[in-house]
């Protein structure tokens, strides 16, 4: 491990929610159905490789990207393609697989890391569907295998509300994790950077890793966002590309090298105020949440989220876990009217401003629902976003450049360095209830079109 100095971030916000997952593993009966959702992958245009009723193995390609046919998306389990759900204009929403009782794997060639060339390694990863775990900044899209990234970044912790504890999740995966790092280090000429949480001692797994440079971050959310870490370690300039991988996905890549199969099992945290027993579950990627939430939530009107409350995707009670997500959050929907709600003293309300009495007598934890707590307005209050945005970027000016479709200005103001998740807290604290992440999303889509 190389010496690291702590990078302190003052700006940000830890939203203290009820329903942290207790550090207990539950081995639930595995889900019967799984889904891969092309919508999880930005800018990918899916071209199907299978039809309904086809039999697939774990690792069989389901579809590939039309723009980059080398990038395969494979089935996480063996079984039968049950259904292909389409949305507007026949856009593919979900490919649903009914799993076999016993999972059978597509057997890939064994790889000897010391001997294999970079291009052979890339091709193996592409073929077996593991390349999809490697994403690039800017824009949070799947990396282009022909690019030379400036560096690879891994955020070793998640700082978002109710986030799973990676030290706990990865505890037994030391070998696979190192293997995954070894693979990544073959793909990049420069360093692999690992951001860790300075609030706790560095876990053994991280501290004993080889071929990584560790950076300690201290501060509230979004200190765990890989984009924020990149900004402080080695910011992205125009024309530059960096790659990043989630810690659990590093393990999946490592397992592939060890066993020659696509083993997509991972651990997710079930959390949120409406979960009766918040625990960690061992699942296979893309699983339905049906079994996990069964008899384990309150009877209120609920909202199920794959991911965290700031950036996650809303799913149904039979919905499927998102490709890159490691947590399922359940919160109350909160679609009630509140009489003179804006005028109440607000002992139970949570606010980053100090306009409610809860800021004088804070609670330990809050139960927040999905109510907007107000109506959308024009930008009025200034300085609000800056308090929760730990980058040297002017968030409101960037947003206004996007609203004005001014590409040149967006570039100048730092669009290459940011993604939706970095703006999630801005959206949370906004007293004008502006849909900040949607605006950023629009800007990024514009940039992808422009740079292609």
């Amino acid at each position: 491990m190389s010496n690291s100095k702590i990078i302190k971030l003052r700006k940000g916000l830890n939203i203290k929610l009820e329903g942290d997952a207790e550090k207990i593993f539950i081995k639930n009966p595995l889900s019967e159905t799984y889904a891969i959702k092309p919508t999880d992958f930005r800018a990918v245009i899916p071209k199907l490789d299978v039809q309904v009723n086809d039999e697939v193995l774990a690792g069989t390609p389901l579809f590939h990207d039309k723009n980059n046919p080398k990038i395969n998306f494979v089935s996480p389990v063996s079984g039968r393609i049950e259904k292909i759900n389409r949305g507007e204009r026949r856009r593919i929403i979900e490919i649903i697989i009914r799993a076999d009782k016993e999972i059978k794997y597509e057997q890939f060639e064994k790889i000897e890391l010391d001997k294999i060339t970079k291009s052979d390694l890339t091709n193996s990863l592409l073929k077996a569907g593991l390349w999809t775990f490697i994403r690039q900044k800017p824009f949070n899209i799947i990396a282009n295998p022909d690019d030379e990234p400036k560096a690879i970044f891994i955020s070793g912790f998640d700082s978002s509300p109710l986030a799973p504890d990676y030290d706990f999740i990865l505890h037994d995966e030391k070998k696979s994790f190192q293997k995954g790092i070894d693979v990544l280090s073959k793909l990049v000429a420069d360093k692999i950077h690992l951001g860790v949480n300075a609030r706790f001692p560095i876990s053994k797994l991280y501290s004993q890793l080889k071929r990584v440079e560790i950076h300690e971050f201290l501060g509230p959310h979004p200190a765990g966002n890989v984009g924020v870490q990149i900004h402080h370690i080695n910011p992205i300039n125009k024309g530059e590309k960096v790659w990043f991988v989630n810690p659990q996905d590093v393990v999946t890549i490592g397992r592939f090298i060890e066993n020659g199969v696509y083993d997509a099992s991972k651990i997710v945290a079930l959390c949120g105020s409406e979960v009766l027993k918040s625990r960690y579950y061992k699942i296979i990627n893309g699983a339905s949440i049906k079994n996990i939430i069964k008899d384990n939530t309150t009877q209120n009107k609920l909202r199920f989220i794959s991911g965290n409350v700031l950036t996650g995707t809303r799913i149904t009670t039979n919905g499927y876990i998102g490709f890159y997500d490691s947590q399922i959050t359940v919160i109350p929907e909160g679609d009630q009217y509140r009489f003179m709600g804006w005028a109440t003293p607000g002992f139970k309300k949570y606010s980053n401003s100090r306009t409610f009495l809860s800021s004088l007598i804070p609670r330990k934890k809050y139960k927040l629902d999905a109510n907007l707590n107000g109506e959308e307005r024009a930008f009025v209050v200034s300085g609000q976003y800056e308090k929760v945005f730990p980058m040297n970027i002017f968030p409101v000016f960037l947003l206004k450049a996007i609203l004005a479709n001014d590409i040149e200005k967006m570039e100048k103001l730092g669009i290459y360095e940011v993604c939706e998740e970095d703006f999630a807290l801005c959206e949370f604290v906004c007293s004008s209830k502006i849909k900040v992440q949607s605006i950023i999303s629009r800007g990024i889509d514009m940039m992808i079109k422009e740079t292609n």
Partner: protein
């Protein structure tokens, strides 16, 4: 409350498109949202939202204005009875009630005229009614002399809302502080109602001089009221501005809740204080000899610094910009007061001028950030 909710749900359809009163849709929705925080939930982006909204924000500002307002009402009565030399024969409630009867029509006119225009323009644009006017509507009567004719106030309010705000696109888009636009309008159109010695005290006898201490100084009368009267506000002046003490209570509320920018407020006071020290060294006129701390107590300076300069829409929006913006407001306010004794109330102009420069300041702050990013790329 369930009954009320049911009633609203029942009458709601007639206010929506195709309904009998569809022209009043914005107005109806504004009142509905006033009574009930809507049941709308997040459909994209973050699933949870902070409890604060625009109503809460504006309500806090109105709350912070309360001490200055209540004292202003009292002071209207107080000045009136002092001018009649009857102050020792009346009790607190008589003073307060007199003030209230004088002040209340101003508030009514300001809100009725302003909100009518707001509701109408929201309906024309198909927007929701923004809460910004709740504060503006309170600020306007507070920065007027109590004797301002009501029709004049109505014209000024309409001018401020239409040409000061709506033509720019409504709340959040305006360049100048609308309340100050209203004041500037009266100042230029009807100067006799905004200066001199006759307008600051309600129903005063002609023989009694009712000029503000600031304008007295212009006449060479250096007989500034003592610190106590200046600080607590027992002097003639615009309704809300006289009591620095009450304004500071408001400032405290705004700063504790974080609604107003500390950076702006602090740098306004700093700029004015430093400028006062500088002019103390000169001998331009009587104004330049006022001790620096008294400069901060005179006229509408404190009120402007706390409630007008900190308006987030018309101020600089970058943190660095806020310091520069505030500092120059303070500096200009004193400069105008001293160098242009015909118009000692420099605060209004200082803020309006800096309102104009705020986007420019921000431009340069943002440009510096852009340059920094470009430099990084070359290295």
């Amino acid at each position: 409350m369930k009954l009320l909710r049911k009633y609203i749900d029942k009458i709601k359809p007639s206010f929506q498109e195709g309904g009998k009163y569809e022209k009043l849709q914005s107005t109806f929705e504004a009142f509905e949202a006033f009574l009930f925080v809507p049941n709308k939930t997040s459909q994209a982006g973050t699933h949870i939202h902070d409890a604060i909204d625009m109503k809460r924000t504006m309500a806090i500002v109105v709350f912070a204005l309360l001490p200055a307002t209540l004292f202003g009402i009292y002071n209207i009565g107080y000045q009136h009875f002092v001018s009649l030399n009857e102050i020792h024969t009346v009790d607190f409630w008589q003073i307060f009630c007199f003030g209230f009867i004088e002040f209340f029509p101003l508030v009514v006119v300001s809100y009725v005229v302003g909100l009518t225009i707001e509701f109408a323009s929201a309906q024309i644009r198909g927007h929701k009614v923004n809460e910004g006017y709740l504060v503006t509507g309170m600020l306007i009567p507070l920065i007027m002399p109590v004797d301002v004719p009501l029709w004049m106030l109505a014209v000024a309010t309409a001018f401020a809302v239409i040409l000061g705000k709506e033509v720019f696109g409504g709340t959040g888009m305006n360049i100048f502080n609308p309340a100050l636009v209203a004041r500037a309008f009266i100042f230029f159109s009807y100067p006799s109602k905004m200066s001199g010695s006759s307008v600051w005290i309600a129903d005063k006898p002609d023989a009694f001089s009712g000029a503000t201490p600031l304008s007295n100084i212009a006449l060479g009368d250096l007989n500034i009221p003592d610190f106590h009267d200046l600080f607590f506000g027992f002097i003639p002046g615009s309704v809300g501005e006289t009591s620095t003490f009450c304004v500071l209570i408001g400032a405290l509320i705004l700063l504790i809740t974080g609604i107003a920018s500390f950076r702006i407020m602090f740098s306004v006071f700093l700029g004015a204080y430093l400028m006062s020290l500088v002019v103390n060294f000169t001998n331009i006129n009587f104004y330049s000899q006022i001790p620096a701390y008294e400069q901060l107590l005179l006229g509408g300076f404190a009120f402007g610094a706390v409630f007008m300069a900190t308006d987030p829409v018309t101020a600089s929006q970058t943190n660095t910009g806020k310091y520069i913006y505030g500092f120059f407001i303070g500096l200009l306010a004193i400069l105008i007061r001293v160098v242009n004794p015909a118009y000692p109330e420099g605060m209004m102009f200082a803020i309006l001028i800096m309102n104009m420069f705020a986007p420019l300041i921000d431009h340069y702050v943002v440009q510096a950030n852009i340059k920094k990013r470009l430099k990084r790329q070359i290295l």
